[in-house]
């Protein structure tokens, strides 16, 4: 699909959004920023629900907005889907009728309703009133309904905000599956980097109505460490090397090194296939540094690294280190940093527990 071109301005009395950006829509695009930064406004501009924006929006070579030439394609004709954080299911229709509302108005009808019902696991709920559903179920109906309209682009505006952890994981895995099976480009808005690392391939970072950065998800997560040192983390994508069920651990390969983490299973409880790619994150404050390798440690993960940067903030040091071309971020106290006399270029060992590595999901 041709890139999405946005060159837009919206002004309110206390807020201005100004964006000029071309976005590739090959995978899932994450849009990140704090509340009030303009993420949702951007989605409303793309969907046409914000009628006050001026400038240009071009999707798949179709001009959706060109305020100079007076072009404004109404939302119903844009063929863009939007899943709202509060679901917005039709209360007068049951689950199946909510889905059929979308399917009936779809022009192409390439998808079969039954397939999408299976994909979103709604088979048992079709005759239910939407008010009887849990918030997780409602959001799955909203997702299925949006997919059945067969949009060119699916926008998701903080769809997990009302869900508990297990429902979040289910829906995030479902989103990846939807993306994989239907090749549907998505823009996923969230203020949770955890969710975004699970689902997104690229990340657009917004702040006060402006774009602050755009790139691959891991690169952007590492750039964000600069802005918020206290929440610094390392975002990784590695392949599954082996399972060690006797220790309840799995190993991932990082070049010649191995990383160990709790046994990797999918939603159904099956071990992940050896060789599959997984998304992993580890917080900077979960990693410690020793100058020499030691066998007298309970830490299962020990990696030789080279220090590339050292930055001091609020009684702490944030170091970036490299192992097998993979950057890790490490946070240690200023006191330790001085005691160890660390400087850029030093070769040290980083170590962390298996439980410090968090499995986010499969990378397809």
């Amino acid at each position: 699909m041709a890139p999405l071109i946005i060159d837009c301005t919206v002004r309110y009395s206390v807020f201005e959004l100004q964006i000029k950006q071309e976005l590739a829509l090959n995978g899932v695009l994450g849009i990140y920023g704090q509340s009030g930064c303009g993420k949702s406004t951007l989605l409303r501009i793309l969907s046409g629900l914000n009628g006050q924006a001026t400038g240009k929006v071009v999707l798949d070579n179709q001009v959706l907005l060109n305020s100079e030439q007076g072009v404004f394609v109404p939302p119903a004709q844009r063929n863009i889907g939007l899943v709202f954080s509060n679901c917005r299911l039709f209360p007068h229709l049951n689950v199946l009728k909510n889905l059929n509302f979308a399917a009936k108005r779809c022009v192409n009808r390439r998808l079969k309703t039954a397939d999408i019902i299976e994909l979103t696991q709604l088979g048992d709920l079709l005759a239910h009133d939407v008010s009887q559903l849990s918030s997780g179920q409602q959001q799955r109906v909203a997702l299925a309904r949006a997919i059945l309209a067969e949009p060119k682009l699916l926008l998701l505006d903080e769809p997990m905000s009302a869900l508990d952890i297990s429902n979040k994981q289910l829906l995030l895995a479902m989103l990846r599956q939807v993306h994989r099976e239907l090749q549907l480009p998505m823009c996923y808005v969230s203020h949770s980097l955890h969710e975004l690392q699970t689902v997104a391939d690229d990340l657009l970072v917004m702040d006060s109505g402006k774009v602050r950065g755009y790139g691959k998800i891991a690169t952007m997560v590492h750039q964000l460490n600069e802005l918020d040192e206290a929440a610094a983390q390392t975002s990784l994508c590695l392949t599954v090397a082996a399972h060690l069920p006797q220790y309840a651990l799995s190993s991932l390969s990082l070049g010649l090194q191995s990383l160990y983490l709790p046994l990797l299973k999918d939603n159904m409880g099956n071990l992940l296939t050896i060789g599959s790619s997984v998304r992993i994150t580890i917080a900077a404050n979960e990693i410690s540094i020793v100058k020499q390798a030691t066998v007298d440690s309970s830490m299962v993960n020990q990696l030789p690294v080279k220090i590339t940067t050292i930055k001091t903030f609020a009684g702490n040091s944030l170091l970036s280190v490299v192992c097998q071309q993979q950057t890790f971020f490490v946070q240690i106290s200023l006191m330790s940093s001085e005691r160890l006399v660390l400087s850029v270029g030093d070769k040290v060992i980083i170590q962390f527990k298996a439980s410090a590595l968090h499995f986010l999901g499969l990378k397809d």
Binding site: G81, P91, R105
Partner: protein, 224 residues
């Protein structure tokens, strides 16, 4: 035909036609008022609400002046239809529509405001255009308020007296409605006939309202 029976027929006919017209013009009015942000909104709302507080005879008096062949609207009507507007069936229908307008517009406006934008936006994102959204989202969800609006409009029109008397007079089969017939019986000391009319209006109105409240209750509990 018995003159009271004729009055009943005229009344039902007037109320039915008025209710139909009220829904036809009241729905878009309520819709635009619900979506309106202009400061003129309160003025328009006040004008629509006027029949709630004005003595019907005041409204009737001004309508009579406007409908007379000497005034522009009255004259235009006469030239287009070939008949005088004042003291005709059309006159009492126009009068009832204006008189009952707030009873139709207010409940509809309130329910449209409550419905808000979220579900309409949701429908738009699924490819539903404005008319599609109205008939498949707005109408089914606000069904209860349409029933309320239609029945209040109908019942209020049946109970009308002052406006009809001012602009319709008392022409059998044309403008002589139940309330006017009742007044006539009382003036002529025909209390037995008056009892029949008053009693049946009372019971009829009660049955109508009770049926509506019951229906509304069922609709609400099935959609909520």
């Amino acid at each position: 035909m018995n003159s009271d029976l004729l009055a009943l027929l005229t009344t039902l006919q007037m109320a039915a036609v008025s209710t139909f017209i009220l829904l036809l013009i009241g729905t878009p009015m309520a819709w635009y008022l619900a979506k309106m942000n202009s400061r003129f909104k309160v003025l328009i709302e006040a004008v629509i609400a006027l029949p709630l507080v004005l003595p019907p005879t005041v409204l009737g008096f001004y309508l009579l002046l406007l409908m007379s062949p000497q005034s522009l609207p009255g004259e235009m009507w006469q030239q287009l239809s070939g008949q005088q507007l004042a003291f005709s069936f059309s006159a009492i229908v126009i009068g009832s529509v204006i008189y009952s307008l707030p009873f139709v517009v207010q409940p509809l406006q309130k329910s449209f405001e409550q419905l808000g934008e979220p579900l309409l936006e949701s429908a738009a994102m699924l490819g539903a255009g404005p008319i599609d959204r109205f008939f498949n989202v707005v109408l089914p969800i606000t069904k209860a308020s349409f029933i309320t609006a239609a029945s209040l409009g109908f019942a209020h029109t049946v109970g009308e007296f002052g406006v009809v008397l001012m602009i319709g007079g008392n022409i059998g089969g044309e403008t002589r409605v139940l309330s006017v017939a009742l007044f006539e019986h009382v003036e002529a000391f025909e209390y037995a006939k008056a009892h029949v009319l008053a009693g049946s209006l009372l019971v009829g109105s009660f049955v109508l309202l009770a049926a509506i409240y019951l229906l509304n209750h069922r609709v609400k509990s099935s959609t909520l």
